[in-house]
Amino acid sequence: MTMVLVETLTVETPVTFIDITGIPQDATDLLIIMSSREGGDQSSDSGFQFTVNGAYGDFKAVYGQITQVVAQTGSNLYVPSGMPTGGATAGAFGNTQIYIPNYTLSQRHPVAVDSVGENVSDVQFGQKMSLFGGLTSSSQPVTSMRIIYSNDAIQPNTTVFIYKIS
């Protein structure tokens, strides 16, 4: 078995960020699976950002929401899978996968993020799917990450699963 669950983090009360620390350095690839929901209004779904070793990176994204498709480029883009609470179906959570290959090497790390969220079909931010990725600013081995919801609190029962692959 080369895919091993390292840690599970569960949000019990609303928080604005989740820290992943002490990432073990005895594998090749890192996989983060997240089931999340945020506290914002459905008309202003802010999504989330993340840092690696305390820094953002250079990212590109393409995402669809309802009938729109959007391309973006930036250093601290938001991954649009936040699943706003306001008006959303109770108990609905977005899903996100973050993959970092060769994370123990000293290099800027490519990161691939895929996410999907669906809660209300007839509002602007009710349905989203995104491809997101880029290159970390940090060129050190990945030892920590932070998932950040800067505008709206992360809701209880949001879970983050950290896997190492070797």
Binding site: D58, A61, A71, T73, P101, N102, D114, G133, I165
Partner: protein, 170 residues
Amino acid sequence: MTTPTYDLLSSTVLTSTATSVTISSLPTLDANGNTYKDLILTSQCGTTSSQLQYLGIRLNSDSSGNRLQTFFANYNNSLAANTFGGVTTNWDNASQVRNDLHSFCTFQIFDYTSTNKQKTILFRSSKADYAEALGGARVDATQAVNSVTFSADGFPFLVGSTFRAYGIAG
């Protein structure tokens, strides 16, 4: 009921440049005798070319050009989508690479040990400073996959390029 596995089948880290990398003798059974169902390939690689080149894979050294693939992407901050029939290069092109190690790609080949269905491939690629893409391909051949070859339009892969294969049984 068997327990699903995620087994490392092959790992290659280049210590010298190579124009192609082949993962061969892919097994059909895991250590417990369970049949592997899905094949996961990952690559983080670059080439000696300063220009963007396609990273592609070829199954079983099959160069008959019997492929159909489609994708959508953010290419250099513009939306793109396209479909190819009978891809002229005979490769399932998934990602773009050049002279850095910033290109990451995963390929999922479903039911790769089967002998009664054409092979389908889902790929997800990230070229950090250029493109994010999701695509799929169908290979018009029913043979079990026993080898996979990576190439980038014939340009040598850089030292440090990594190629791994994982098998999922269950």
